[in-house]
């Protein structure tokens, strides 16, 4: 008994001692849960095709990933941050303060954001204005801004069925939320004339734009801080609910969800790559240049990620739901040259 105990404790102590000496031989990735499936597909194929170990991919959201990315340079910080939005000025500054100065930005493709509801429910053909009128705390009625009176979709748009309003939208820590605000709510705000009315009512332009992307807090709009699986579960329990999903998630669950059109366009990889479907956003990952050459396989991973075989229109990422980037060749040459983001920005 005591011999076993002794050897086990010795082993554990030895392991603690060894960690400071042994170099990390694995690429570590963290960030957006939207990019996670793509990154895991690439990581797996990378492990299969190269002699490097399979990279480790964690999720947690774009902001959380970039925060960890900006913690500093060194083996116990991550090498790559996945993001479903562009890195912010503030984050670049935080990075620079921690010594992460040379960052390589890689755009991997585009992701569509779709509006889907229960498969047996009503079908919808949305425009951004509908969503603004459904979710904004104040809407324009007869030329004046009033508290949102809409209770059903029929109130929002006479063409819609009288289905109770219930929306499940991504929480604020998700990159998807920003796209929803920018490409749907803000567009709807302008289209309905609410923005103009607010500016005319004495609001500054910035305040009015902020007011445009606010959502009502009376229970109609629900923030989902978890993953799309949670949104799906909420829709299954409330059949009137309409949720915001990534295209890839919807395509994996077509037996439970039906998708709504936006401005008359059905979301597909084709309609998104041509730009016809309006609600899409680019996906990125960010690489620490200082780690290239230190962490084995890092540059190879980045190059492999955006190679034509992987991220091209016939690659596995596209098969999963990523919309291939037409300008992939430029990104490829930028990576092989290790071009960093414009410094001093």
């Amino acid at each position: 008994m005591s011999a076993i105990k002794l050897s086990v404790s010795a082993l554990a102590l030895g392991a603690i001692a060894a960690t400071s000496a042994a170099a990390r031989d694995q690429v570590q990735v963290a960030g957006s849960s939207t990019v996670l499936p793509y990154a895991s597909i690439v990581a797996e194929a990378f492990g299969e095709n190269f002699d490097f170990p399979t990279p480790v991919v964690e999720s947690g959201g774009s902001s959380a990933g970039l925060k960890r990315f900006c913690e500093g340079v060194g083996e116990n910080t991550i090498d790559v941050a996945n993001a479903s939005r562009k890195i912010r000025e503030k984050e670049i500054k935080a990075c620079a303060e921690a010594g992460v100065t040379d960052i390589i930005e890689v755009r991997i493709g585009y992701d569509g954001i779709v509006f889907a509801s229960d498969i047996d429910g009503n079908t919808f053909e949305f425009t951004p204005s509908d969503w603004f009128n459904a979710l904004s705390p104040k809407v324009l009625v007869d030329g004046a801004m009033v508290d949102n009176p809409n209770k059903t979709w029929a109130d929002v748009n006479a063409d819609f069925p009288a289905q109770a309003l219930a929306a499940y939208i991504p929480g604020t820590k998700h990159g998807t939320r920003e796209v929803f605000e920018e490409k749907v709510l803000a567009v709807g705000c302008e289209a309905t004339g609410a923005l103009e009315a607010m500016v005319a009512g004495g609001m500054s332009e910035d305040d009015a734009e902020d007011a445009c992307i606010a959502v009502r807090t009376d229970g109609v709009s629900n923030d989902i801080d978890g993953d799309y699986t949670e949104t799906l579960a909420r829709i299954e329990s409330n059949k009137d609910g309409i949720g915001v999903f990534g295209l890839a998630f919807y395509e994996n669950n077509t037996d439970k969800l039906q998708v709504a059109t936006m401005s008359g366009v059905v979301p597909t990889t084709e309609s998104i790559s041509t730009g016809e479907y309006p609600v899409s956003r680019p996906l990125y990952f960010y690489v620490k240049k200082a780690h290239i050459g230190v962490i084995p396989g890092l540059k190879e991973y980045a190059e492999f990620f955006i190679s034509d075989e992987v991220a091209g229109p016939d690659g596995p990422l596209s098969a999963y739901g990523l919309v291939a980037d037409p300008a992939l060749a430029d990104t490829q040459s930028a990576i092989s040259a290790e071009e960093t983001m414009a410094s001093g920005s």
Partner: protein, 452 residues
């Protein structure tokens, strides 16, 4: 006493209050007792009902994960694709990526469908290949790299069917549900039906689910629990190696040697309170102390084990102290009386008698730690992590890995419904471990515990 006095109010009542005929008050008391028994039975019944419902849900959802549909097909390992120069140089063979293997698969799957004699509107090999797991090319390449001398031969492979085909054979996917699915069409299912009759497509026990590594979102059919299980194993080694000696030493000192004063009282209160601290608190502590301050590697079972040690310590200390307390003082007195030192009395007599209790407490503490997910979220053990088998004992402690409950949580989040099925299957594996540990604990207690 009250019974007697209430039954003897006067001479007349004495006749009525015999033991055989119940008076009104006795009836009332008996009725109350019956009611209480009924409540108790109802409570147990409700509890049993929930347990049964839970077990039914777990078993009915989870057992499907233990079988997997496989396709047997002959693949010709063409020399001109895999080794253009024909010199069998392993470095050159390795240069052919998995994408270079898809033409071989295309040819094999087309041949398989033609041989089966099914009439199908699907003609493109790329569409036919959707019957197979997208990990097929990877399996093929691994085989060729390991056996370069087989290049040029036609080799029979057993390849996992794609998750939709697998779901069809398990009744999870129907023709109707495929109508709008771009991964598979109802026409594919006609092929599957024919191949199933010919024995090419078969469902069999899925060892890969128990022993394999995690797989990415595009190939749920290949995902397995094995690597996460190893992660849990290494974490438990750390927890055992640290929490048992520390916990037992603490308890022995506090119970047998420490003076009774306000300071030891304070420590005692704190240990009891620590047992009730939510585990996520230990997670964030671990992140701050072990990773950000001590610079231990992220996602490592070593760090997970250290965090879980903090969580398990109070459980072990409390149960160890309880079992030390239950050793009668006469044992100590007798030992001291024949001239043993205090330490001899404790280590030669008290500790061996308390051992079954200590071990039971330790095993239950370990079982609790094994099922813990929350602190692992914060130290980076959730995600696409359990993809490499550790290369050795040392690597097992420090290289990134997941743990069983974290892997289940991760699967439950993913888009493909096949992962959801695997999450339930993972719960069955986890429960088997927990039940085994509890049975060992019960066995130790029954076998070795002494009663006074």
């Amino acid at each position: 006493m009250t019974d007697i006095s209430s039954n003897t109010p006067g001479q007349g009542a004495r006749v009525a209050s015999s033991l055989l005929t119940e008076d009104k008050r006795t009836k009332k008391r008996n009725a109350a007792e019956k009611r209480f028994k009924a409540y108790g039975i109802a409570a147990i019944a409700v509890g049993l009902f929930f347990l049964a419902a839970l077990l039914f849900a777990i078993i009915s959802n989870g057992t499907r994960a233990f079988t997997q549909t496989f396709v047997t097909l002959d693949i010709e390992l063409l020399e001109e694709k895999l080794d253009k120069n024909g010199n069998r140089d392993i470095e050159e063979i390795k240069k052919v990526s998995t994408f270079g293997y898809s033409p071989l698969l295309d040819a094999a799957v087309t041949k398989m469908v033609t041989d089966s004699g099914v009439e199908t509107p699907i003609t493109k090999a790329k569409d036919l290949k959707q019957l197979l797991s997208s990990g097929a090319a990877g399996d093929l390449r691994a085989f060729v790299v390991a056996n370069p001398d087989r290049i040029g031969d036609t080799v029979e492979f057993r390849i996992a069917a794609s998750s939709r085909v697998d779901g069809y054979l398990k009744g999870r996917v129907t023709r109707e549900s495929l109508a709008r699915d771009k991964n598979l069409s109802p026409e594919h299912l006609d092929i599957v039906d024919a191949l199933k009759e010919q024995g090419v497509v078969k469902k069999s026990f899925n060892w890969d689910f128990i022993l394999g590594a995690d797989a990415s979102d595009s190939r749920p059919e290949q995902a397995g629990m094995g690597v996460a299980m190893l992660g849990s194993f290494f974490m438990m080694l750390v927890v055992l190696a640290l929490s048992l000696p520390i916990g037992v030493a603490t308890s022995i000192y506090l119970e047998e040697f420490a003076p009774q004063n306000w300071f030891t009282d304070l420590i005692e209160v704190n240990i009891s309170n620590l047992a009730a601290v939510p585990s996520i608190v230990f997670g964030i502590l671990g992140l701050a102390v072990f990773i950000q301050f001590a610079h231990l590697p992220q996602s490592a079972p070593l760090v997970g084990g250290l965090v879980l040690t903090l969580m398990t310590l109070p459980t072990i200390i409390i149960s160890t102290r309880a079992s030390l307390k239950s050793v009668p003082p006469s044992i100590r007195d007798a030992a001291l009386g024949v001239g043993a030192s205090k330490m001899q009395a404790v280590f030669h007599h008290v500790l061996p008698l308390a051992m079954p209790g200590i071990l039971t407490g330790t095993i239950i503490g370990l079982a609790q730690a094994l099922g813990e997910t929350a602190p692992l979220l914060l130290i980076g053990m959730v995600g696409f992590i359990a993809s490499n088998y550790p290369e050795g004992v040392m690597d097992g402690f420090v290289s990134p890995n997941s743990a069983m409950p974290a892997q289940i949580y991760e699967w439950a989040k993913r888009a493909d419904p096949a992962f959801y099925e695997r999450a339930w299957g993972g719960i069955i594996i986890l429960l088997v471990f927990l039940i085994t540990m509890n049975i060992i604990a019960i066995f130790l207690r029954r076998r070795f515990e002494r009663r006074w």
